[in-house]
């Protein structure tokens, strides 16, 4: 028996949002009389950080402190319509809708403040700390809260905004097949090292080095948590998880966590991550979002690494010991690529 070490590389382009577009997101933003803002969305945060990012985007656009924004995703029955949290579309689609809704609300907020200060709304600016003041005359100032209260109780004005982001559905040209599948791609490159045991067929990922290009990382810590967890899932999909039975009959398939196996805390590979920031032209503040792409490069990289290690080319996932052993048998033993 011998352990063979191999390295594999993969690079991917990953489309942001639904292919061919036509997947709208809506956002509604309104102020409360205490000068705090609520952003209503129907897209759900599954733990990826969508609420945090939309909160940051709303605060930035409104020009108020992030603490003064509450993102409400409570109910898709009553909230504004959204296609949902999938296709790595959250930051891009919802973020853009939030920018539009917040910009509209900001306009009304400045009109309300202008009426109180008896100036032109165009001369006003926000300091991001909860104050609105006249450009060049910081002493002529009103708090966002006072402006919101004036709007509510004196002026009878609604500080609110509507936003929708829609990339129109792209038709496919019947003659040429030409279409515009996506407006934005994210990218990733991954280098993995594996060890393959030629007696048991077991594949162990021992190292991952990656570079991910995600547009602007609007929240770098959330980006990192996505990439780290997602790459773990990619490793799991590459070499562990399968709904296929271990024996020919379907009822030998895994039905619980005893037989549907994922890498545990003792099976991790060190993962060195580099994030490349290249703000996207149509992204909210340049963001695209890591999304599903976190997991994707790991799978082809692992398959390539197995080929490098023992010369077995596997084209069906996951890379199970059985497939490796069958490949080794067909090959007449391990043929590390360096020795081919």
């Amino acid at each position: 028996m011998a352990i063979h070490r191999g390295r594999g590389f993969a690079a991917i382009n990953y489309p942001i949002g639904m292919n061919l577009g036509g997947d709208p997101s809506q956002a509604l933003v309104h102020s409360n009389p205490d000068g705090k803002f609520t952003v209503a969305l129907s897209a759900i945060d599954l733990g990826q950080g969508m609420k945090s990012v939309c909160r940051q985007i709303a605060a930035e656009t409104l020009g108020v402190p992030v603490e003064d924004v509450y993102v409400d995703t409570a109910d898709s029955d009553t909230g504004p319509h959204d296609m949902g949290s999938f296709a790595s579309r959250g930051t891009h689609r919802m973020g853009n809708a939030v920018i539009r809704a917040s910009a509209e609300a900001r306009e009304v907020m400045l009109e309300a403040a202008a009426e109180e200060l008896e100036v032109d709304p165009g001369d006003l600016m926000t300091d991001g700390k909860g104050n609105i003041h006249v450009r060049g005359a910081p002493s002529r100032t009103i708090t966002v809260m006072a402006a919101a209260q004036a709007a509510q109780f004196r002026q009878g004005r609604t500080i609110a905004g509507r936003g929708i982001f829609l990339i129109p559905l792209s038709d496919v040209d019947p003659d040429t097949g030409e279409m515009s599948p996506v407006t934005t791609f994210a990218h990733a490159a991954m280098l993995v090292t594996v060890e393959v045991c030629d007696e048991t067929g077991e594949v162990t990922v021992t190292d991952m080095q990656s570079a991910y290009e995600v547009g602007r990382a609007l929240n770098p810590r959330l980006v990192e948590q996505q990439l780290r967890g997602g790459a773990w899932m990619g490793m799991s999909h590459a070499a562990w998880e399968t709904t296929e039975p271990y024996y020919p009959a379907r009822d030998h398939g895994p039905v619980d966590f005893n037989s549907y196996i994922m890498p545990g805390p003792g099976d991790l590979a060190p993962h060195h991550i580099s994030v490349l920031e290249r703000p996207a032209e149509d992204g909210p503040y340049g963001g695209k979002g890591p999304g599903e792409m976190c997991a994707n490069p790991v799978l082809p990289a692992v398959v390539n690494a197995v080929y490098d290690a023992v010369g077995v080319r596997i084209d069906e996932l996951p890379v199970t010991p059985e497939k490796v052993l069958r490949g080794l048998r067909a090959l007449g033993g391990a043929k590390p690529r360096q020795r081919l």
């Binding site: 733990g47 780290r228 997602g230 773990w232 966590f257 805390p265 003792g266 991790l268």
Partner: protein, 158 residues
């Protein structure tokens, strides 16, 4: 259906509630007592989401009969914080972004608390061993291990 009164201590306060016959502790805590912190992941002892402490020993609540906690002390993730003061593990989990969907988090925290109570300075390997019964789908475990080590090695204070 027969109901059986159970008196026990939950996170330091005495509690009494009715358990149905054969009800497991997870179901009892969530439905009869109203402590929603332990989670149902698998109901068969393979995911760790329901981890609680019974007399300071970590147990899978889905595998424990509710009746068996009569007179005993149960601790759940809901009891980790002391008023506004979080357990250092909770601080460290936040600092390290060790939760995403959060479904595993309550069980992870209880498993980690049990580990540190028994062994305040665990090695990385001992931390891995301590949470090896708890599945996490989101984080890739690394941030969770780092968070527990931050507390063990004194980088996070209460």
């Amino acid at each position: 259906m027969t109901f059986k009164p159970i008196s026990f201590t939950l996170n330091g306060s005495s509690k009494a509630a009715f358990a149905t016959e054969g009800q497991n502790l997870l179901d009892f805590l969530r439905r009869a007592v109203g402590d929603l912190s332990p989670k149902y992941g698998c109901g068969q002892g393979t995911c760790g989401a329901c981890t609680v402490m019974i007399d300071n020993v970590p147990q899978l609540a889905c595998l424990v009969l509710a009746e068996s906690v009569e007179g005993r002390a149960v601790n759940t993730a809901a009891g980790l914080a002391n008023g506004p003061r979080l357990d250092p593990l909770q601080e460290a989990f936040m600092e390290r972004f060790a939760a995403q969907c959060g479904y595993c988090t309550a069980g992870m925290l209880v498993a980690a608390r049990a580990l540190l109570d028994a062994n305040p300075r665990p090695s990385r390997e001992e931390v891995i061993e301590g949470i090896s019964g708890n599945l996490c789908r989101c984080t890739g475990y690394e941030p969770i291990i780092d968070a527990i080590l931050d507390v063990a090695e004194g980088r996070v204070q209460a």
